[in-house]
Amino acid sequence: MGGHESNGMPQIGSMNKKGQIITDPSELFFLSPRTQAFLTGSEVIKEAVKRASVDFSVAYPITPQSEASSLVGELYADGYVGDYMRGESEFAVMGQCAGGAFGGARVFTTTAGPGTLRAFENFPMWAGSRLPIEVVFTVRGVNSPLSIQPDTLEIAFMLETGMLLWHAEDAQDLFDFILKGYIVAEQPEVHLPIGVICDGFFVTHTKDMVLMTPENRVIPHYNPYASPVTCMDMESPPVRMMRDPFVMKSNYISYMTHASWQLEVRAAIERSRKHTIQLLDGLIEVENPDAEIMLISSGTAVSQSREAVRLFRDQGVKVGLVKIKTIRPFPAQEVREALKNAKHIFVPEFNVAGWMAKEIKSVIDRSERVVAGPHVAGGMTMPPEVIVEEIERSLALRGKKELIHG
């Protein structure tokens, strides 16, 4: 609630050192002409970061994000990223990102799978410190035996870190989410770290058509003067908060302070809704909302579900689809509304745990309508035919002999 001014901040309409024009986000996203390109997801990450006025990026190799982080290094070499370094491990990377953000920099990094879990302690620390760092998780298997293949299990670990979590379905989402993510995450009343998630290999290593904003336009720089917490300087180094933390005191009010702090982080996630709805055109997308059979998921499971909907359509069966764009904030009200008429709800997922099905069951009534599946894991693909078979098998078990035609 402080009286910040943007003294010295580069203004909209001015040029950065690479000659890119600093552009109002709404104009950049919704009015600027877009050009089509055929790129891998890793290349898309590079193109988005090129337009994101990033001050600092830290890299550490782990499949399947290594190419993307190395391409960000090329951006640094070309002068598009302020500073760039390699960390000693993922844990170190996330700590170094925190240092940059504490100092008022816009920070970008990427990681995946075991790297995410190795770095894990830092994510709730980022959220509690209100650091709007952006990290792209190119999700993959995390458990032994080792797998580098696509798997969304790691998202389950991230759910209660206090971060915003957006799940890209494809390369277009990835491009837009990286840029729009900064705009939402850096709002003074939000000011939280954001994880932009894409499914490893399925998105990072495949080529897709992407409509990109002009190369010579960038989003405005991060304004650290609008932060809800103090920036790090010699007057308020973070160590002074860490050295005398209230959590080290054993009394009722210190516990309550910590509880209130946690509530404030979750409140900040809630405040992101209105900005996100505006920029992403809603937290969900719905196809065939009046269908009795609905598929609902996030990431590339949505793409596979879209194909399953098409296969059913070819058979004359109407099946609906809900695409969830943001996992945090979770679109509880939107999901309730979208599923209110559904009799059978299927949740295809690329993980063994079925965490998305649990999320959905927790926010709707008559949760017995939900079938947690089909599931694949460990890098398996999920052909649309598998989704169709799962629906047909489940409905047969439920005693629904014929699917609804027409």
């Binding site: 609630m1 402080g2 001014e5 002074r240 933390p245 009010i253 702090w261 409140a267 809630e270």
Partner: protein
């Protein structure tokens, strides 16, 4: 209409964050009173009325107003001082955010980690936060609402605060002067009775 009424406390063991209860922040040109969205002018008028009717009205200026780090901070501090003088309102600063152990001096300062101590000690029944970083203001507002009967008002340079009993957003020195102007009028009128 926001679903949750943000009323004067004490609200209990751990009051919820109003945003988690479904309350949304006011848009530009608006404020809120006890969680309900009103026009900015209405919120400013109510802030003045609260100050005038209080037994121990107090302003808690934070670092962004206390330190003259830019021209706006200086002008805001001057406006806060004018309000304090016009309304007979105490000023107790929140100079930084570190917990003050083993014991805070509640007559000298307020701290976001245990703001209730300052409220209780000074028997403050109406307060205004201004120039406090948003995160720490929200922390304080929740704890005050939980354990005290103080009516909290947050004058914010950004989007406002759901956890205050009253908020005005996008503040400028002129908006604080508007509170002062109404306080003066109310005090003048009350003398006629």
């Amino acid at each position: 209409m926001n679903p949750y009424s943000v009323l004067r406390g004490p609200e209990g063991f751990l009051p919820p964050a109003a945003a988690l209860a479904g309350n949304i922040l006011p848009e530009t040109g608006q404020g809120h009173i006890e969680g309900q969205i009103v026009s900015e002018e209405e919120a400013i008028e109510e802030a003045a009325r609260k100050f005038v009717s209080a037994k121990v009205p107090t302003i808690f200026p934070g670092p962004l107003v206390l330190w003259g780090w830019n021209e706006k901070a200086i002008r805001t501090a001057e406006a806060v001082e004018r309000l304090s003088v016009a309304g007979g309102i105490n000023i107790i600063p929140m100079p930084d955010y570190r917990p003050k152990y083993p014991k805070i001096d509640p007559e000298a300062e307020i701290n976001p980690n245990h703001p209730n101590l300052t409220i209780w000690h000074n028997k403050i029944d109406v307060c205004m936060f201004v120039g406090v970083h948003c995160h720490y203001a929200n922390l304080s507002l929740k704890i005050i609402r939980g354990g005290t009967a103080c009516f909290t008002m947050a004058f914010c340079a950004h989007a406002g605060h759901e956890d205050a009993n009253l908020t005005v957003r996008d503040i400028l020195p002129e908006k604080i002067d508007r509170v002062t102007e109404i306080v003066k009028k109310l005090k003048l009128n009350s003398k006629k009775f």
